[in-house]
């Protein structure tokens, strides 16, 4: 089987990461923002696993596992906070949560 | 520099006593505050007299009563305290003026609230000021130098006059920010020591041996100079002073003008000229020019002032101009002139501020127009005012005479035109003092309220006397004082000449 060049993984992961970051900055919906964050973290996983496939090591996969787990934890906390925000008022966009300025 | 260690910790005691008394004030009953602070600063003053008595004048250049306590081994920071001739004079000035300020405050009507803090602040200032003049470790010096700011900030801000908040703010920002340059300079000097010798040291004695490339030395000189120029103050940096001095309570102005300004000039002599002799020689023309500009500009500003406190404040600036001009002439006469002028100005400016404060107590105004003829009906007070003014003007027999006279002599060594400029400065200072005297004494005023004024007496009289006597002492027996710092000046000159 021909090996896939490591750069290919990086291109995929960079695209994913870029999308994640762009989504994080440009999107307005709270949950979408959170999902963009997850996308960025998953880009990290792709890159790690690709790197492992390239080098024949396992540390990257371990890292990816931890990233998966903690990204989930972060998403859980994020959802919790979003629910808490919704309980105070119905917010559709990040533009609406600007009680603090300065 | 020679070091003479001591068995008995005079210097640290005289730093500790006011501090301890001030801490004591926090806990005592309201009634004991004034007596206790009087006792505290009195003891310190007596201690300073003891030190003067015990000082070995034959070895004036040596640092005597030297003590050393390690603070941080790692960076070699030591609490090294001691007194050479120059410090000794400043030390005496500090204890004397602090005592005067406290004696004055006992009967100051303006000070009728937050007494505990007031005397706390003044005792702390005394302690810190002694620390400034006695420390031979640059970091410790810096710490004391900064610390004096805090009680003064409060003195101006809490017990000052109408614009006190603005003035306190301005005072603190100017001095604090400028001193950051000093801090940068100090650590840079230590770093140079580290790169040369492989160990840190902030000790003045170690750093004296440093040598720098010329450009870098000028850079360091300027770092130090900015801080001290603001503190002194020299002309482009002087704008904080009229506000701070003008709005401070009388005792605060006294301490500010008499001692805090001297920190600048003292440090210029001790650190700028001591540590960077080559740069000093190189920058001499610039420094002298700044000094001359300060004299003339400040004198002009003095003459146009309406407010008597600002008047005295600007006159202080012009006197500082004399001190700096004389100092940076970098010859024997000049250094002598500048040091004696520092001391002399300490007396006269303190005294003039107290005059202003006393009159304010009577008339509740600082406006010269309203003070016309006010002194006429208080003969003792008039005598004091006259003595002080003439001393400040530089009349022979007055304390400032020697400063101005020797400055001219020193300037003549370079050129007659420079001497002429100094002379013009002297004329100006005479002019504004005479102008003030004319306003206070000679102008006629119809209102009869002045007649009912009682003359000065009690604590206030005592505080004046304590200043006027040394003033005359300087005027008539200058060698008592010259002897003190002769050695130090010779040391500085040797340091300068060794390079040429």
């Amino acid at each position: 089987m021909k090996t896939i060049p490591v750069e290919a993984y990086f291109v995929v992961s960079m695209v994913l990461f870029g999308l994640g970051v762009i989504g994080l900055i440009a999107r307005r919906n709270l949950v979408t923002v959170l999902m963009s964050l997850e996308l960025a973290l998953n880009a990290v996983n792709v890159a790690f696993v690709g790197a492992d496939a390239h080098m024949g090591l396992v540390e990257g996969q371990i890292f990816a596992l931890f990233v998966i787990a903690l990204a989930a934890a972060e998403a859980a906390v994020g959802l919790g906070i979003i629910i808490a925000i919704f309980r105070y008022r119905y917010v559709e966009s990040t533009d609406e949560i600007t009680d603090m300025r300065g | 520099m020679e070091i003479v260690r001591t068995d008995f910790p005079f210097v640290s005691l005289s730093i500790a006593i006011p501090a301890l008394f001030s801490l004591l004030l926090v806990f005592v009953n309201e009634r004991f505050i004034k007596p206790l602070s009087l006792i505290g600063s009195g003891i310190t003053f007596l201690l300073s007299l003891c030190v003067i008595y015990l000082f070995d004048y034959s070895r004036g250049a040596a640092v005597q009563f030297y003590e050393e306590y390690v603070i941080l081994q790692e960076l070699n920071i030591k609490l090294s305290l001691g007194l050479d001739g120059l410090s000794l004079l400043m030390y005496l000035l500090t204890t004397l003026v602090s005592l005067v300020a406290i004696v004055w405050s006992v009967r100051d009507k303006q000070i009728n609230f937050r007494l505990r803090e007031y005397f706390f602040a003044f005792l702390m200032t005394e302690s810190f000021l002694i620390g400034v003049f006695a420390s031979f470790d640059l970091i410790v010096f810096y710490v004391f130098y900064e610390l004096t700011l805090i009680p003064m900030l409060f003195a101006i801000g809490v017990w000052g006059y109408k614009l006190r908040l603005y003035s306190a703010y301005k005072f603190f920002i100017y001095i604090f920010v400028s001193s950051l340059f000093l801090l940068l300079g100090i650590v840079s000097v230590a770093v140079v020591h580290y790169t040369d010798k492989g160990s840190f040291s902030f000790s003045y004695f170690d750093l004296l041996k440093n040598s720098y490339p010329m450009g870098f030395e000028i850079f360091l000189f300027l770092l130090f100079f900015i801080a001290f120029a603001v503190k002194t103050p020299l002309v482009p940096f002087h704008t904080w002073l009229p506000d701070a001095h003008g709005e401070a309570p009388t005792a605060g102005s006294v301490v500010l003008a008499a001692v805090l300004l001297k920190m600048g000039t003292y440090a210029l002599l001790r650190f700028n000229i001591g540590l960077f002799p080559e740069a000093s020689i190189k920058l001499m023309p610039l420094m002298v020019a700044i000094g001359i500009v300060t004299i003339i500009y400040a004198s002009w500003m003095t003459i146009v002032q309406n407010n008597i406190k600002r008047f005295v404040a600007y006159s202080s600036v012009s006197h500082m101009g004399f001190v700096v001009t004389a100092m940076f002439l970098l010859n024997y006469e000049g250094l002598r002139a500048s040091v004696i002028e520092m001391f002399a100005h300490g007396m006269t400016s303190a005294s003039l501020f107290m005059v202003a404060g006393f009159i304010y107590g009577r008339l509740h105004t600082f406006n010269m127009e309203n003070l016309r003829g006010s002194v006429k009906f208080m003969p003792v007070f008039a005598l004091i005012v006259a003595t002080t003014s003439f001393a400040a003007m530089g009349l022979p027999g007055g304390s400032s005479f020697w400063g101005k006279f020797l400055t001219m002599l020193a300037a003549r060594e370079y050129s007659y035109s420079l001497a002429l400029l100094v002379l013009v400065g002297g004329f100006f200072s005479a002019a504004y003092v005479l102008f003030m005297l004319k306003t206070l004494f000679l102008d006629v005023r119809e209102e009869s309220i002045l007649i009912h004024f009682t003359d000065i007496r009690g604590f206030k009289l005592a505080s004046f006397v304590m200043l006027v006597l040394p003033m005359l002492l300087v005027g008539f027996f200058p060698h008592l004082f010259f002897n003190m710092f002769e050695g130090s000046i010779n040391f500085v000159l040797k340091n300068l000449l060794g390079l040429e």
């Binding site: 903690l70 994020g78 | 908040l165």
Partner: protein, 488 residues
Amino acid sequence: MDIGQLVGDIRIPRLELFLPELIVLITAFMLFTLDLVLSTRLKRVVLPSLSAIGYVLALMSVGITIQFQGNTFYGTFTNDYLGILVKVFVLIITLTVLAFSYKYYEAKNSFYGEFYYMLAFTLLGAMILASSYNLIIIYVSLELVSIGFYILTALLRGSFISKEGAFKYLILGGLSIALASYGAVFMYIYSGSIDLRGILSYSGQDYHYLILGLVLFLIGFAIKIGAVPFHFWLPDAYQGAPTPVTALMASVGKLVFFIPVVRIMPLIQDKFSVAWMLTVGVIAAATMLYGNLVALVQRDIKRLLAYSSIAHSGYILAAVAVTKEIGLKAVIYFLLVYTVMAAGSFFVVAMLERAEGWNNEIREFSGLRFSLPYLAFSFLVYMFALLGVPPTVGFVGKALVFMALSFDGLWWLAFIMILSTAISTGYYVRLIVLMYMKDREKNVTIMGKSYAELVSLVFLTLLTVALAVVPGVIWQLLSPAASMLFVR
């Protein structure tokens, strides 16, 4: 591939190195369990006291671990002087947070058992983050601390801004972690190692991956510490969070987020000294200038302190730019003492927030000296410390930074630092002037002071001065900590 070989031989970890963390971990689980089983009335007593006991025990065990140093858990956990020093401060600050939080939450009518064990878990994360070179461990502990902060920020009943702050913090914090771990990928590609020491001492031909990785990794941490182009979340998170938690974020958070950077700083400088100096220098300059300038116009005290915290990140970063050992010492010292100053100042605000009708506005500080003389005094001390006036720790920190800058000849940075300190004088002194020199607008009284918080406040205030006046204590550990990290 034989799985048996891959698994390798299993070694029992040297748990004595891990003792403080272990104690905190056990405490956290006990708190967790007790929170589930106890009644609310009992919880209010048991949870705080149990946490306090746990942290004190941990603090004592940190003292024990000084004699055992080294690596454990297959080299992923490193117990060295730096870690010990950080742990001591982190534990002390957390104890004080505990002391202040009790009455604060009582006044806000917002008792959550979660607070206590999230605090413990955050502490655990902070302690582990302070003592590891391993990217996985750094990542996990970073997340642990961050998630702890997100939750603690949101845990305030009836406050919308707390949720808002938590959300903003979460998004930017998540981004920072994503960036840092993305950087970790490239460093891993470069060297095939996930140990930072291994990565940076690996001498590969192709530096591109390393540079890319380091840049991303450091940007991640720059977001966490609020360095300037990445600071947006910080004021909101600080303002929104319950004030004791803000204190925790400003002190412990800032400290431990800096530590991985501090650990690898000498190694990076070994490779890219000039580029490092320039980039970090520019960021530091921007950070301190921006933080101070914006702080100048703030009306809310918590926001003001938040911007001052950004500015302090700038000061510390200035020392990070330095390539000499003294720079390392300056960074560590400043970081450690900043925890004390920042925590102390936020604690004062936390106490004031309990006063009737207090809105955290700056003008409310007018004449505070008359209403609450002791509180005003300690705030005064913190303000002087943050400003850098001797004889406080802030002064020593700034002096050390100046010294470090002077070592490397970074004069421009030193002058920018002076300039920004000058700007900062404006708002610090304004507070002092308001408190001590203005008449009071209204009488501020704080209901129900507890001894724990009074003792803590006095302790922190004393520490602010004592660590500067008697510096030997801290330098005894600081100096070997820096020397051990410094490679050349």
